[in-house]
Symmetry: D2
Amino acid sequence: MTSTWAFLGPSGTFCEMALQQVAPDNARLEPCQDVATALDRVRERVADSAVVPIENSVEGGVNATLDNLVASAPLVIAAEVAVPVTFVLAGRPGTSLDRVRAISTHPHAWAQCRGWVHLNLPEASYVAGTSTSAPARALAESDDPLSFEAVLCNPLAAQRYGLEVLAGGVADNPDAVTRFVQVTRPGRVGEPTGADKTTLMVQAPHDRAGALLDMLEQFSARGVNLSRIESRPVGDSLGRYRFSIDVEGHIREERVQAAFIGLHRTCPMVRFLGSYPRLDARPVVVPAGTSDKDFIVARAWVADILAGRTI
Amino acid sequence: MTSTWAFLGPSGTFCEMALQQVAPDNARLEPCQDVATALDRVRERVADSAVVPIENSVEGGVNATLDNLVASAPLVIAAEVAVPVTFVLAGRPGTSLDRVRAISTHPHAWAQCRGWVHLNLPEASYVAGTSTSAPARALAESDDPLSFEAVLCNPLAAQRYGLEVLAGGVADNPDAVTRFVQVTRPGRVGEPTGADKTTLMVQAPHDRAGALLDMLEQFSARGVNLSRIESRPVGDSLGRYRFSIDVEGHIREERVQAAFIGLHRTCPMVRFLGSYPRLDARPVVVPAGTSDKDFIVARAWVADILAGRTI
Amino acid sequence: MTSTWAFLGPSGTFCEMALQQVAPDNARLEPCQDVATALDRVRERVADSAVVPIENSVEGGVNATLDNLVASAPLVIAAEVAVPVTFVLAGRPGTSLDRVRAISTHPHAWAQCRGWVHLNLPEASYVAGTSTSAPARALAESDDPLSFEAVLCNPLAAQRYGLEVLAGGVADNPDAVTRFVQVTRPGRVGEPTGADKTTLMVQAPHDRAGALLDMLEQFSARGVNLSRIESRPVGDSLGRYRFSIDVEGHIREERVQAAFIGLHRTCPMVRFLGSYPRLDARPVVVPAGTSDKDFIVARAWVADILAGRTI
Amino acid sequence: MTSTWAFLGPSGTFCEMALQQVAPDNARLEPCQDVATALDRVRERVADSAVVPIENSVEGGVNATLDNLVASAPLVIAAEVAVPVTFVLAGRPGTSLDRVRAISTHPHAWAQCRGWVHLNLPEASYVAGTSTSAPARALAESDDPLSFEAVLCNPLAAQRYGLEVLAGGVADNPDAVTRFVQVTRPGRVGEPTGADKTTLMVQAPHDRAGALLDMLEQFSARGVNLSRIESRPVGDSLGRYRFSIDVEGHIREERVQAAFIGLHRTCPMVRFLGSYPRLDARPVVVPAGTSDKDFIVARAWVADILAGRTI
């Protein structure tokens, strides 16, 4: 049976490159105009999965994704994928570099090529685009005069739209990478692999100093290590934050559950956003005293105390 | 049926005064020569309960009790009693104050009357006794010449041994109080009263800095407040400690259990020593987010996550 | 003498509205195409001050500003200004609402009006712009056919470019506000007002668990309260973060200095970004034991100990 | 010039054995009847130093010493000495083991030989003594009948008083050791050796939960490690404690001073009780970021910020 996958379109984005790593070959692809739309497709059961960007090593968290994941009906992350961020400068066939006066691309992409452009095309101005591939498509297909002569897109888009590559390997930071996630509707949580990651959003109590500290101690008291933390405004006024967090470990592990229970008890909002295998497959180190067995043995000991069996 | 109560004897000690507050009228009393003996009587099933001192507001914890409670077969505290520490100076009938050259009493009692003696009988020397009532008895019953002419004991002992009170209300600190505990063999733990205290002994991990801090965070992360902490040497070398701790709350409360589970997971030794009503009957304040209901709701929420029911 | 003020242009942006609140009337204004350019104008001594957005109550921190402030030669914040984020939908004179098929504005503005558009112009598509006023200017001045018929801009821009307001008070969140900062070159730090804020960027040590917790304790150990924390990627790889932080207090206060000293000792990077009066002029509450006098007295006490004068 | 050394007498105590390790050969010795007297001799300038016990590996802190050090005019610890706690059972010449029905010694000594006595002289009862050597002296010199036939004392006392050793190497715990300290009047604090210890007494704020945790963070925030912590009652009521603490490091080190400043600011009472070389001469490990240089560089950096020199 064919599954339907929504993604941040149009065709030829980095996001589609990410999707190709996790979707089956016969997947039906549905490019969406923005992250919110892609995620809503899953909520509406039109799509089975959505692939959207969540974090960029240079620009940081992708706010649209972080915020939308908790904004409406529950979704969970099922997998993660990383795509190196390297661009080509492409134009209509026959374009020469010295005729490029304006370049279009997504603002995130622009931010990661500004240095290269400054060095190689110091006179070029910037035209904001809604994705990295939309301007490429416009350049290939539009009959209208456009306000730019070249685009910064990925090789896939250049090829798909028949553009000519004017320069390859464009990236101010050759190590830049964007992390994408596959998002689904929640279901019974699967088994841990031993190299897992759990994502959540939590709002710290805001009415007193040290609230963030207390919140972080809910993790450290159970030996749960954070691998990512991003602050996001709650949105109703300045000065109130929630935090998008990745922790090392799986919600089926006792120590992760204990941290979640602690957060649920003490924070105004916690949302589970999925436990899934880590991209790097590096096994999670479980600190002494925080293995499942440690929890089970300790609970049995308390039960013995209560029953007066032995202490 | 008559129960047997061991206590720190001999007859007429402050400890017997404490016992009278918790033992039934028809209890069979068994004075013991030291705390260890009294507690062993319970372990050996010769006595049903033991009453022993555990803390003095001036001298601090009673080490013999603190250490013995964890030294051998399990015992638990079932109740606590406080007795004001006020002495009488007593001698054989006919003794006058100006003939008192030496005074005997237990070293703890001496420590709490030194100031009074220094002021009123500056020449008097001290003869150590094994309890506050043993010297009183010796004075009353011995035919031998003794190295002291007066004793500092409680009114009960003076009366029981027919001594004459030379001075009453002797106490450097009129607010001084000794806390005693009733100790029994462990059984099924009873229900909380809402104004309870739990006693435990825990050894902090010793192999790294900050271990005590981490141990204390096991309590604070669950909103469990400490009302007493006493360090005791582990005994095998200098520099290793365990801590005798009273917390506000009952082991049947989720938050207390969560703290115990955390300690069991991370500390080399934890011993439960009883949950029992607080002397002052002051209800325990349960911090926001740490009620039993908070724990139950949070655990149910995690179960829902795992089952994919809702998040 | 006339001072020169750079700001995020073009003419008519919210940023210019913010600038008007802090710049002298005779200031020479220099609109810049992006935040980096405005800040560089100050570094290059072409401008005396720059006014740039730093935080939006809905979208969060303005990454370009947060990152640029620490990317190059030192700058400090001298003042802050807040501007309510309310838009008008504007078109060329004569445009009617039902003819609007596409709308252009800055992506941040779009994010804050999406709900309104969805409700009122459900068919309208979005064209990304580089600011809130650039599309307004284009609409007013361009002779070319454009891909949009209306813009979402602030009232100032609509007026300045002679556009017709098709709808006013457009804002999904009527409480939304953007905070702007006046940035200058560093100089001798002025005196506290008692209602101050200090901004800094700090990179937490990344090589071990609990590093963020330890970093936050450098503040809490001195009673310094955080009013804002934003994570930013360090940029060299996924998983390494630095934090843009506002604390309540002034760098001339001992407790704030003590926190800075603690951070400098233990973190790979700390950058002071200015102490300046709080927007709300609410006096900072200095916790017990953390006043300047407390520090001075405590240091004098340690000096006495060292000298053997008294302890 | 001859110095005068007070110590916990009488002649022949373990304390005198400790004194011999630190006092010059020509020191004038003054045995005192209790710890308070020995320390007061120094306060009164009758003695230059006092040597008193402070901690026993089995029995814990010596309360009389811990409390007296902060009870009156300031004193500081200048050195520490450890003496192994091994006893001999001694009697009048001609005494045979099977005639020993009662044994006298100091209660601390008794506590450390109880197991041996139980095993070897199960019928023997205990007579409390005021020191380990006083009963030895009584046995040797008294013409009166005594209530005991043997004493547990150290080899020095047995030899000095001409008693016959009935059994040697008596000690339930062969590793038991008592730590003694040399106490002097405060003067200018000397230079660190790199392997130092600092002793202090501090009262935690008692009016709120977590106060002990906060107090300990004053140390951990500066990388100062605790090697000993003993709770002592403040003495005015149950439930209020102060803590006798040894930290690794010297008060001339910046990190130790920073911790002291933090305590002085936030705790109702802190008393410095001396910085002196560690018994084991093991160099103190200074955690990264807490060396004197780290503090000096960080303070200079803050000064530069204030002056606007550079940041």
